[in-house]
Symmetry: none
Subunit: 204 residues, 4 copies
DNA sequence: AATGAATGAGATTTCATTCAT
DNA sequence: CATGAATGAAATCTCATTCAT
């Protein structure tokens, strides 16, 4: 029988593509899009530079692929969220968001490095997703208000605030300033966040 | 052998430095650090590329200078904040923050484009400032709790949330997705943010 | 482990070679030698790139083969030409030359694109043929002079002029500036050319 | 006073441009456009590769510049030609054409190597010139016919034949197969060509 | 014999940096 | 001090050729 696939040769086309995307995501995350070189991406993927061009037309296309082909499970999670204004549902939602965030760290780091200055990618993909999340949140909040569970606030503003809260966590983690809390502590964090959001900070 | 200052070209060393920094900040903001060329910076500053090297050792040094020499009036503003848990003081603080944010948009955009992937600059300067702001906020919140104006929350968490809320506004403005609200509307926004923070969203 | 010839893929070695040469001639004609890629040649031939190397050592060898293995029916035609100084024979010859020229357009275009700068191929093959044609023409003209049908002119010069006349037609057709005249008009053109050559343009 | 400019530094912008064009013309003529490398052009011009890009946007632009900025004194010569059907005028014209041809050999060789497969350049510039020459010749011939000096021939056909005659000389010289005749012999050649054209080859 | 994915040398082009003026 | 032409290292991308299957 054959020996275990040890070299780059033994990969299907789909696998090779993924292999390149994964290597690129890592390098982009480390160096940023501009500083990342095709040579380094190839090296990290264990293939020759030219090989990349069998799967992607150019460097930019790799970035697009990363952006477009990476799933956003956060959206799926939001869609499934039930229980209007239910504290437990919200806590679980936030906790799930933290888990997803951790899984997507390299992806997010890539985004922030280059997409930031590339309007075409931003407009096409990222903005779209952010808007989607924003709208889902807004709708949920509006529904809670209609149901009398939340008081009369501006749903758009609250949605943005919630995303900002999340963003601050992501940014820190991406930048390595502070790691995301360990899985065990995430429930506590999620509860604190939800309580803050629900009841504010004013003493009563 | 000529000596009489004949044109507006005559500048003191300090002025010339500033002139370069301002031009660079604009170009960095538009193109990102990597895509910005020394030629364009020089062009925008109205001088020759070679001249830049009389004032800065290399391109990176210009970025460092921008980061390090740009003031952060937000810190000063925080230090002056009085009135523990006073709604009006908080509203005014937030409003002032929005004004400062607008004034610093190009600077912030520069940061996000490159500093993001440059640990040396980040660690040295940016993180320092962010921590400073964070600590000031945290201290203020802790004081409010001690004074019995805020209920017993985690000051660090609240500080981070507040910064995240702000961040979400800044990010949108930097990216041009949505402009900052006009000065007239800022007070209303600030009030909504403060009320949200103080009382939460739960109906009562 | 399959073996039964199942498709039209089965070709004898000679046929496969020809198949490649034909595909290459077309691609060379369209793109020029340098711009033509092995992949495109393979694609046009309906085979894989690697297969080409079973029949040719490298790209250049394909070009050589095209040049060397393509017949020059013009030479055969010249050899058969009879009737010293006979207008009809000359007209028919020229007409035949036009037909052959049309049939060889892709081949000629290939030559002009690359052989032009490749002395080895030029010297080996092309120059040889041109000289051959030149000499046949020269000999014919000399014979006509000896027979008293042509006046005393320099046979070499006339041969070159005749080839130049032809060349001007070929070049235009190759370059697509003006198509070769339609078969019906070719006789008229051939007659005009022959009359021009025989009697010149001076009014008498 | 200063020593004679020995290095590449001592050139005005216009001279540097010309210097690059001349080097490129030589390399293009030797290798053809595709095979010519920027590195070699730079080497031949005695400058660094990057310097070329201070004067030309890309490789193709160099070719265009050669094509467009090279004069065609042949047109000027044709315009000045007097004496309808006058043998001496025609002889002188042809002789001048041979001189010009020699002076433009590298330029012409460049054209043939690449322009051949580049329709954009061909259409824009070359075809234009060829047509111009063709029309001037045609007009001249038509005038001679009208004046009764030439018999009733197709002016377009004769123009094309004349250009073909010339072309055959040029091609040989460009390819190095046979040099152009020495200046002393050019008058004899020109006379032979004119006589051939005027009186044909038929014995009388 | 045939395949076609992989290779990697080499080409074009960019741009931070230098230095003679 | 200031200039800006020149540099040349380095990046992206192409494609003839190889070779395991």
């Amino acid at each position: 029988m054959n020996d275990t696939p040890s070299s780059a040769t033994e990969k299907s086309a789909a696998t090779r593509r993924t292999q390149i995307l994964e290597a690129a995501a890592v390098v982009f995350a480390e160096k940023g899009y501009q500083r990342a070189t095709m040579k380094e991406i190839a090296g990290r993927a264990g293939i020759a530079p030219g090989t990349i061009y069998l799967y992607f037309g150019n460097k930019r296309e790799i970035l697009s692929a990363i952006v477009n082909e990476t799933e956003t499970p956060i959206v799926a999670a939001l869609l499934e969220m039930g229980g209007l204004g239910d504290r437990d549902a919200m806590v679980e939602m936030i906790e799930k968001g933290l888990d997803i965030t951790e899984a997507q760290l390299p992806f997010n780091r890539t985004l922030f490095s280059e997409v930031w200055v590339d309007d075409s990618i931003l407009e096409e993909s990222i903005a779209e997703r952010i808007k989607q999340i924003h709208q889902l949140l807004e709708k949920y909040i509006a529904a809670c208000i209609a149901a009398g569970v939340f008081r009369l606030v501006d749903p758009a503003l609250v949605a943005q605030m919630v995303m900002g809260m999340f963003g601050s966590l992501i940014v820190q983690a991406i930048r390595g300033i502070a790691p995301l809390p360990s899985p065990e502590k995430r429930r506590a964090l999620a509860e604190a966040m939800v309580d803050l959001l629900l009841d504010g900070i004013r003493a009563r």
